[in-house]
């Protein structure tokens, strides 16, 4: 890992972790059968539901959050044949989720600036602005990430880095109360 650039919250992925679930999926497999994205999110939600049995609606919430992260990573992966790596950890009444995918080099700066705005702007204003802009331009808008931070009060961190072959990646870390 080299040329690391961190944006946003620093999220501890090791201290106090009680359960862990890791999986790698190929974006192509989701693109060919888009329903898999939801099915996969439901599967993870069912897996962790047992840990939050005192929280009605936790399965719906977990599935919603995972689905947004997986859709995002699958859509914006540079290489659709290279696995997206997803890890979900339980810590107390929270889930700590990381997802890593490749990033097209020419979109890296744009993606990073979208991420930075999540921590510099009023999120309600930013959401309205992005929706109105998205009606004219269907490129990456980060609307799902804004909703996760704004409506679900999630902590979010982004690590942009390059591997030894100079390929660009991003790891999105999310820490959320269930």
């Amino acid at each position: 890992m080299k040329n690391l650039v961190h944006i946003g919250d620093s999220i501890d992925t090791e201290e106090g972790i009680e359960n862990i679930f890791s999986v790698a999926i190929l974006p192509l497999d989701i693109f060919d059968f888009w329903e898999r994205c939801g099915q996969f999110s439901d599967l993870i939600a069912e897996y962790f539901e047992y840990n939050f049995s005192d929280r009605p609606g936790c399965k719906n919430l977990i599935s919603t959050v995972i689905n947004e992260l997986v859709e995002n990573s699958v859509k914006y992966s540079k290489n659709k044949s290279q696995p997206v790596e997803l890890t979900i950890r339980k810590r107390g009444d929270r889930l700590v989720i990381t997802v890593t995918n490749s990033v097209p080099r020419h979109q890296k700066e744009k993606f990073a600036s979208v991420c930075k705005e999540l921590f510099e702007r009023d999120l309600d204003e930013l959401y309205v602005e992005r929706v109105e802009a998205a009606s004219r331009d269907s490129k990456f808008s980060g609307l799902g990430l804004i909703l996760l931070k704004k409506d679900y009060n999630a902590q979010l961190g982004f690590n942009f880095f390059e591997n030894d072959q100079d390929l660009s990646y991003v790891t999105i870390s999310l820490d959320i109360e269930v």
């Binding site: 719906n60 919603t64 009606s135 269907s138």
Partner: protein, 114 residues
């Protein structure tokens, strides 16, 4: 008129000035919501004054779908004399947390979460 997918239906019940969403809506991107957006636009044009939308049976809607609803809210600004009344469920996370975003785009929407 009813739109049907593998996991959802969106039904316009003309006699009741009502649209009912049911199931799971996680389409691939905003462009995939065009038919549903068009149904909303045509329905608001069709009703005399108030269109009711029942979301309480829609278990999931992804951010692309929420964006499409917001675009309908933006459209509503320019439709004179019409209002929308939305009913949602507090027990469904996307509705409890994100449905109120529609109110940021227009004052012609009334939202009730039950």
């Amino acid at each position: 008129m009813t739109l049907k997918g593998d996991s959802y239906t969106v039904e316009y019940v003309k006699i009741n000035n009502l649209i009912v969403f049911r199931g799971v809506l996680r389409l691939q991107g905003r462009e995939h919501y065009q038919q549903i957006f068009d149904l909303l636009v045509n329905s608001i044009s069709d009703v005399e004054s108030v269109l009711a939308i029942d979301m309480s049976k829609l278990e999931f809607l992804n951010s692309s779908g929420i964006s499409s609803l917001c675009l309908f809210a933006i459209h509503l600004r320019d439709v004179p004399g019409k209002r929308v009344v939305i009913t949602g469920s507090n027990s469904i996370s996307w509705q409890a947390k994100s449905l109120s975003n529609l109110l940021k785009f227009t004052n012609k929407i009334q939202l009730t979460l039950i």
